[in-house]
Symmetry: D2
Subunit: 402 residues, 4 copies
């Protein structure tokens, strides 16, 4: 039987993560990239009926006025990533994807993101939320029809929106639905409008960002009503990954973490957006509170994320962990993580598409908590220890391939 | 029912680890030390019937001419550890323990360790292995009788012996037994003589060092014959602990470790002994090969341990992990671990005494593989990932308290 | 001829720096401390006619309700510094110094510093600046008379005051003098009142803090009018010292510094005060701008100072320097500095007292720019390169001893 | 007047340093590279009559069977250096240089270097030293004639030869000269044969490596006899540069360095050669002893250089400096240097060519000690402090441009 033909629809399709994932997918399809970095290619997932790389097709929304080809070239040049041969070989495919990227929405994305928006976007700036959702759905339906897709997975990899308070959102879809007609008074932001659009069409949604996306309860309800699924929130790629790996060690050895300081510097577009304090606060919230949850007490913590132009897409995190051992002895662990943000995120995004597609195909509905190891805020999973989260994934996989 | 009265018999009773463990035990008994650093005091072990700190009494063997009180004072002064109040309050108890420390054996310990030996030891320098074992047993029996002990746990925390090849040792006790009469031709070294002495008296033995101890197959057989138990080998306190925590993360994320370099500097007596290449090689073997076992392939590795006087009991490890992410992107994680070696080891030694005593009391015989999380070379446990090893311990505990 | 008898008058006499300097001075006088860390004890200054340690006597002002003995004990216990023998031997002398510490002034020190003030201080809280100056002078004169001192050097080592703008201060003393009668409208803060008090009595003043002190032009004029001298500003002890050492290397090798990020964490009282943003901004200004002055262009810079309780008096600075080499190659230097703040500052304070006393005795008047190597903001010295500043000091010394 | 036309003759012309320098020179000539990293382009040298980049032509010796173009491509691909545009634009020039690279000599270079040698070299393997010198001279004369060069500067950037003991070499040229006829018994190695060849033709020689080169006294005498000049030894590009910058700070602040540990890892050809202990010992000698010379006492030191394949041309140095401050307080400075070895060395090589050419043109004879800031072993300059060495260079330059 022929494998299903699957679409990946990136929100933020010309950003660093989507550009890297798209180039990587092309590389996998052309046999110019190997499987390193791809979780779904590990032996423990070999017996899963995951979709083949060849069956995936990319489209998406973006708000900026660059091309995907330019974004790939910029990463290649400024951040010294990608093999020159792969970049050359992928030019045609990158251009094709570019033709399938449509103007997104900047509804309640904050002024920093608005400034990035292309002129083409300005036509949509006073659009009602309801109309934005309908426009997004029209784009998704066109993508599906033109490319004869069996399924589309919508993936949010756009810049971080300003922190919002969910408390006041109505918990049921029927009540939230009405707010879409309210214009500026509507409390939802773009990331949630995309989720609504996807769910109403029965499409799964993955939120790889700290933005609200499908996290509000009413949206979870909508996903269940439309019998589709979602996963999130905020990809765990670097410093927070290490926190979720190291903190359990301190706990298991009964070493008391007195303080945990983490400083992150990086220079990509995400960093530029996070230089705006309202956007940054949304990000930092997710990087810190796992410590208390893992340790069972709250050490003094400090997290900073700073935009340093010269770093390009490279993120350096310095963490200083001050802990107390036996007989009150203070000791220290420091680490420096030097990773390329987009290249750490891109394979996880491709993995999630394959995993979520399988879960969706098998009829799983609502929040998919088994993919919590991929996220800083693992929705549906209370345990933040990475090893536990990995076990949850492996056990799910073992059940699928029985 | 009164709790059993338990003896801890340290091989290397005046070294940094034993001195710290003894002082810590006194602190716990006097309520001058809290439980931080003690694994056995974690909530998941609260329902185990572990012996109370008050029931433990310390004795041991050593080969050096210092006093325990001096060793504690030296650590306090040179390495700036211990609370001054605790040191002052423990003077009487430390002196008592000192009277219970007997001359050990330096059989086949190599010239570097021999040079540390006190004049009093020289009388034993041509002792036959069989006679050394008998002398050790006489010391153990006196300790038991004088202090009315229900059980003695023998713990090896002495300096690392030169690397030996076990391959040629006869695998059965009956054959090995005969070699004890051979004098210099006997292939066993001191750490194993202590283990033989303990096992023949039915006493458990814990090997916290890289020295052979009870690891040769024939000794394991002897432990089973005498219906006693043992655990080992080589306490996992710092850099190797981090390797066993971090390597599984790289594996779970399919990030390819290209090279893992680790440099360790420290300045205590253990360091001085390891400055002799024949002693060092025994140590380094255990610090490195877990990477291949966890990752499933062998990255280039390098481990050094260097004696730097000024560091005292503090060990600094710098590790540089060079790994390859998606699309061949090279990235780096570096960490610096600054820990006080004796204070990291001491609580684990106390934990092991309590855990092994319980296992022994419950009738467990032979190798106790459930304590592998404490060791660099976890005898009986093939999985080197720390989270897995912790689960094994927790599951054992859960079974005990049912 | 008998050496002159010299008083050191510390502003902030019970803070960490003054406590360490006082204890160190007692140690030098009792031959319980060696010369390590003391610049004035280097061979190149051996021929200078510097005052002997035995001739120095300590008094001072403070606003807090602790004793010097308690402060020393706290540093010893919490930050694990000082030799126990020295602390014990110095008890009598520390108590004597304590009797010579008088209540200071908190005029315009900001609410964070005000909160630290003892009840005894509250009586002075509505004091006019003029009256505060007079009270300070009365304390200084009593100190001089009671101890028969030939000279008093006033040294500001108090907590950092909120940043103030000097621009609007009248440049001449005759105009500034009048503002002392204005009460709350007076634009001067405590550190400057102490300087005025000292200068009017013809006493030298050293400003080891970022607070304004004697930096306003009108105060410099006053020093000259009263034929006394001063030096400052803001002791260069750690991260900034390294900047002034490393930045000239990048310049000399034509390596382009693209960004220089520095994060500082520490947990002493100074840190607690700096946790208030208004106080912090005064501090940060001095840590950063030397880079542009040394390099000749302005790289992107970031400096943070964060209060992390568990660090005590220990400051850890992590700096990440991203630079561009030949053919545009980006490279990185990172350093981690782990120093004990008070113990780095204390010897420099003692050195400055000796150097300034000599300059004063030799008749130097006004700003002493030759001591710029000791300061983050080297008043009177435009070159921030440490090697140049050291040469200036050495050349001055060579001239003195001719 | 037309500028002189100058040849650069690289020993090791296809190695990483020469390849980078050659590509960089082409970039400068084509205005595709800027001046960053080039010391000779700093403002303080603007008034010197240095040769223009356009007048320089490259040739050289090598022993390996690769092409310069391949070496540049390998660095570009494996170590992610160089701009792709520059590499593309330089293809023609690189090929031209390749035609001017002649087989060198491997006389007494040790087996590790011999294994790198091309088949073409084997014909010369039993060559007498005298014949090797003559062959080298023939190559140099051909280069000069064919390209109409006014002067050739010979620069040794070849792999490090095994450590040799100079003590037994005769101190005068007339005696050493005779040994050239002795075959295998001749105590000189290749680097010195090249120097002899250059000096006898009146050409200057720069030794950028730890190999003996022109360092033996008799060779210095020869340079003077032939009225030419030389400079050396062993380029100071990374860790040792930092030592020569940081050690003076500890001295100036009277902070006692207790231990200085440095670990270097890198993966280029130089690293592969240094993996042979006999070659490594030559290198390490130069990296360490400057500390004692700067500090005036000998702290415990440790230097390692390890070959880690995955690092490519990138060298990471981790240094741990343990120092004692006031009142015996132990403190720590650690740094991590991540630099690209060839790109750090290449501009210094080009600078030295320009500086040495000017000195030669102005009639300076013998050892040029004013360029000591470029070298780990600054021949003729006893002061190892980098700031002092920079002053020496600047003062020489000031004299030249008067």
């Amino acid at each position: 039987m022929a494998q299903p033909r699957i679409g990946i629809w990136f929100i933020g399709a010309r950003g660093g993560v989507a550009a890297s994932a798209t180039l990587g997918l092309i590389g996998l399809q052309k046999r110019l990239a190997d499987s390193v970095g791809l979780v779904s290619e590990l032996p423990q997932f070999a017996r899963l009926d995951l979709v083949a790389w060849d069956t995936l097709v990319v489209g998406g929304h973006d708000i900026r006025d660059v091309t995907l080809t330019e974004e790939v070239a910029r990463l290649h040049r400024e951040s010294r990533v990608f093999d020159a041969k792969l970049v050359a070989a992928a030019q045609g495919e990158l251009s094709s994807v570019d033709t399938r990227i449509r103007p997104g929405t900047i509804f309640r994305c904050g002024t920093t993101i608005e400034k990035l928006a292309a002129n083409a976007m300005l036509g949509h700036s006073h659009e009602l939320p309801r109309h934005a959702v309908e426009r997004i759905q029209s784009d998704l339906k066109n993508f599906q029809q033109e490319l004869h897709l069996d399924c589309i997975i919508v993936v949010n990899v756009a810049s971080t929106e300003p922190a919002t308070n969910f408390v006041d959102l109505p918990p049921h879809w029927s009540d939230l639905d009405r707010l879409l007609d309210e214009g500026p008074a509507c409390p939802l932001s773009a990331s949630s409008l995309y989720a609504i659009a996807a769910f109403q069409l029965g499409m799964p949604y993955i939120n790889f960002t700290p933005s609200p996306g499908a996290t509000p309860a009413a949206l979870g309800e909508l996903a269940e009503l439309r019998k589709t699924c979602h996963a999130g929130q905020d990809g765990k790629t670097g410093e927070t990954l290490l926190k979720s790996v190291l903190a359990p060690m301190f706990a298991a050895r009964h070493l008391e973490v007195m303080s945990w300081v983490g400083h992150n510097i990086f220079g990509n577009l995400d960093g530029e957006v996070l230089d705006d304090p309202v956007n940054k606060s949304a990000k930092i919230q997710g990087k810190d509170k796992l410590l208390g949850l893992i340790l069972g007490y709250d050490p003094q913590t400090l997290v900073s994320i700073e935009y340093i132009r010269s770093m390009g897409d490279w993120k350096t995190a310095w963490d200083h962990i001050h802990f107390r051992g036996f007989l009150g002895t203070p000791m220290t662990l420091q680490f420096t993580w030097q990773g390329c943000d987009s290249l750490l995120a891109a394979p996880l995004v491709l993995d999630l598409v394959r995993f979520v597609e399988l879960a969706n195909r098998r009829g799983e509905i609502g929040l998919l908590s088994q993919f919590g190891s991929f996220f800083k805020r693992p929705l549906g999973l209370e345990n933040h220890a990475f090893d536990h989260q990995s076990s949850v994934l492996n056990e799910w996989a073992a059940r699928q391939s029985q």
